[in-house]
Symmetry: C2
Subunit: 124 residues, 2 copies
Amino acid sequence: METAYTPGEVAARFGLSLDTLRYYEREGLLTEVERAPSGHRRYRASDVELLDLVRCLRDTDMPIARLREFAELVREGDRTIPDRLEILTAHDQALTERIAELRQRQEMIQHKIAYYEGVLAEAD
Amino acid sequence: METAYTPGEVAARFGLSLDTLRYYEREGLLTEVERAPSGHRRYRASDVELLDLVRCLRDTDMPIARLREFAELVREGDRTIPDRLEILTAHDQALTERIAELRQRQEMIQHKIAYYEGVLAEAD
DNA sequence: CCTTGACTTGGAGTGCACTCCAGGTACCAA
DNA sequence: TTGGTACCTGGAGTGCACTCCAAGTCAAGG
């Protein structure tokens, strides 16, 4: 008897809507979710764990299509771990670059802020 | 006789398409761009300068609607500098938070990478 | 004069990631 | 028995930021 979570519980835990949760499943981002006799979804620990990673990757702007690829590899079993590693390391790299870009742009914005502050200070 | 730039030059300089350039103008992200007698746009230094900031803000995910607000303030003249400052500092703050979030998520991803590498190392 | 290439316009189309909806089912509490 | 709540389905709709298109204009070169 494994612990299982209702859609409402899972949605609340990850700050997702039920629609988004179902959308992710439709798009193949989760492995097939089990059902209660009523037909209602029952998320198991492994579903929650995968969803946790999926959310993490989405929150860092990995596109749905790429996430689907990743989830397919998960479904294919442990022999796909090298492929999954490749996806994750590529994403890690992209993330490093994105963060560097944001920091650089932020500097320019802070320059502009300092400039405007200078203009205001001068005008008093 | 101020130096002016053709649409092609400006697009190339910022890595934008001509369509995007026109789209930005339509959306009010640029102040009215002058025309040559032929009807072709001639971007002046001040246009390029504003576009530089606009791109910087777009590249850091400021929505078009907010950029339009900002550009409207620019059009209204120097008395709106305090309002512009408010937009920029709010964005700067949001950016700091976004970068922190990305770094945090990246750590989780790196954890997962290390885990997968461990699995592979074990399996030899 | 004719072609080429860079540009013009208004408007339609695209891709992504949701988000909403109508109509129906399951189960619990009063 | 009647609410109420949580969930189900297939499919349509939304918002954003472009992106593309057809048909036309303009200036320069051969």
